[in-house]
């Protein structure tokens, strides 16, 4: 079973700058901040594809989307 998290190296000055930025912001660590920013940047769809362990329940198959479209059509939305 692979580890669910990996280490990514970033330049120390950037790390220190992030430490400064998150002071009193509510982020408990630079890691939390970086994960938040990357998720926001990359978006949920790409993350779902890349991380099946976390994303499988959230991902929508074409079949799911077809089912939803059918329901929306039956309800008069489409």
């Amino acid at each position: 079973m692979p580890e669910s998290k990996v280490t990514v190296k970033i330049p120390r000055p950037l790390y220190e700058r992030i430490q400064h930025v998150i002071e009193d912001s509510g982020f408990s660590s630079p890691t939390d901040f970086i994960v938040f920013v990357l998720r926001d940047l990359v978006g949920d769809h790409a993350l779902e594809k890349a991380d099946p362990a976390n994303g499988a329940r959230s991902a929508q198959t074409n079949e799911d989307i077809a089912d939803i479209r059918r329901k929306l059509h039956n309800l008069g939305y489409l």
Binding site: G26, S28, D32, F36, D44, H45, R57, I65, L78
Partner: protein, 387 residues
């Protein structure tokens, strides 16, 4: 499509073999009855409307939200989403608790991660801005016991309702809807009231700036003196049919229970609408306010103070709207030249209620006659059949 808040649209609705296994666990677990607000929250967590929440909050998230409107991991969040223990004494961490609605129907499962005793006064002050017992949110906190249960949930079934079922769309469904309609920008309008001319105006001004408008009325628990959701639905339907462009506007319901938390709740409403796929959100005068607990523009000030990148959904702020007699059109205090009340058609809520109760339509500049007629009929019905 706009990402869900926190990066991933949560789905805690179990299906197939997974549901069968969870159902067996639920049958063997002690049962806890959810109140109306908890039932709404359960549904919203399950379908991803409260993403990134995957369950009822533990103490670290609760503390962080109360103190600084963030989850413990730093993600912006607005309000505690909690589950009150109601007499289950011998609970061990890690065990399952079956969750049922007020009628005793099994809804799902809580994987109990934490039991904690909240400081209710801190929660009230931090989130509602008051500990005054006259505030309905404070009354709610007093009603839910002294212990909260936290942990992830699984939904086996969603709550059932006896109205507006054809308007109950999940965030996954609204996202598919917006995509199918080709709307890349969508503004959500939250309301717990009938839509009169002032709100019709705000929604149309907002729609001028985006591809689509979702009228998204809150239909969870509200105060007993608010207009019932089923009556409001009739009002929205007639308005949409006669006064809004069909291809640009949609109506779906929002299952949350009102907190009446003013600024904090404006943020709550906005973040949840982001999860539904909306890119813009209308924040009007006294958003989610009650009585005189908040200033008319406290919610807007609070929203303006947030980092737009963290918020991720664009709030659209509006001042008080009214019919401007001099201009012969709707306007707001920002756009009208009218300076005296005589130049404006504005009625207090009390005055409107009195007129409706007497069977009188408010002026057409205040309320569409079709809406007034529905409200007059509902008032008459209420008089005939007192609670």
């Amino acid at each position: 499509m706009i990402p869900a808040h926190g990066g991933r649209l949560i789905n805690r609705l179990a299906t197939g073999a997974e549901r069968d296994a969870l159902l067996a666990r639920a049958k063997a677990a002690p049962r806890l009855k959810l109140n109306a607000r908890e039932t709404s929250d359960f549904e919203m967590i399950a379908v991803g409307a409260m993403s990134p929440l995957e369950g009822f909050m533990g103490s670290e998230d609760w503390k962080a939200v109360v103190a600084k409107h963030r989850l413990a991991n730093g993600v912006l969040w607005a309000m505690p989403v909690t589950l009150g223990n109601k007499g289950l004494g011998a609970l061990k961490l890690g065990q399952d608790v079956a969750l049922e609605d007020e009628s005793g129907r099994l809804l799902g499962l809580l994987e109990l991660a934490e039991r904690f005793t909240p400081d209710k006064a801190a929660e009230a002050q931090g989130c509602l801005g008051t500990t005054d017992k006259a505030h309905p949110g404070v009354q709610y906190l007093d009603s839910v016991g002294t212990e909260y249960l936290g942990g992830p949930i699984w939904a086996l079934d969603l709550p059932k309702y006896d109205f507006a079922n054809e308007f109950r769309l999940t965030p996954r469904e609204t996202r598919v809807l917006f995509k199918a309609k080709g709307w890349s920008t969508v503004v959500a309008f939250q309301t717990r009231n009938p839509i009169h001319r002032a709100h019709e105006y705000l929604t149309k001004v907002a729609l001028e700036q985006v591809d689509g408008l979702m009228i998204h009325p809150l239909v969870g628990e509200t105060k007993s003196d608010d207009v019932p959701a089923r009556v409001r639905m009739d009002c929205y339907r007639v308005l949409l049919e006669r006064y809004y462009p069909k291809e640009r506007v949609t109506l779906a319901v929002y299952p949350q229970a009102m907190r009446y938390a003013g600024p904090r709740e404006a943020l709550f409403h906005a973040l949840c609408r982001k999860n539904y796929g909306c890119t813009h959100f209308i924040v009007g005068r006294d958003h989610a306010g009650v009585g005189s607990f908040y200033g008319s523009f406290d919610a807007q000030k609070f929203m303006k103070g947030l980092d737009p990148a963290e918020l991720g959904i664009q709030p659209l702020m509006f001042e008080n709207a009214f019919w401007d007699k001099r201009a012969g059109s709707m306007a707001t205090t920002k756009t009208s030249a009218a300076t005296s009340p005589e130049d404006m058609v504005m009625l207090s809520g009390t005055k409107v209620r009195d007129m409706l109760r007497a069977g009188q339509r408010p002026p057409a500049e205040f309320s569409r006659p079709e809406v007034a007629d529905i409200l007059i009929a509902a008032m008459a019905e209420k008089v005939k059949a007192p609670a």
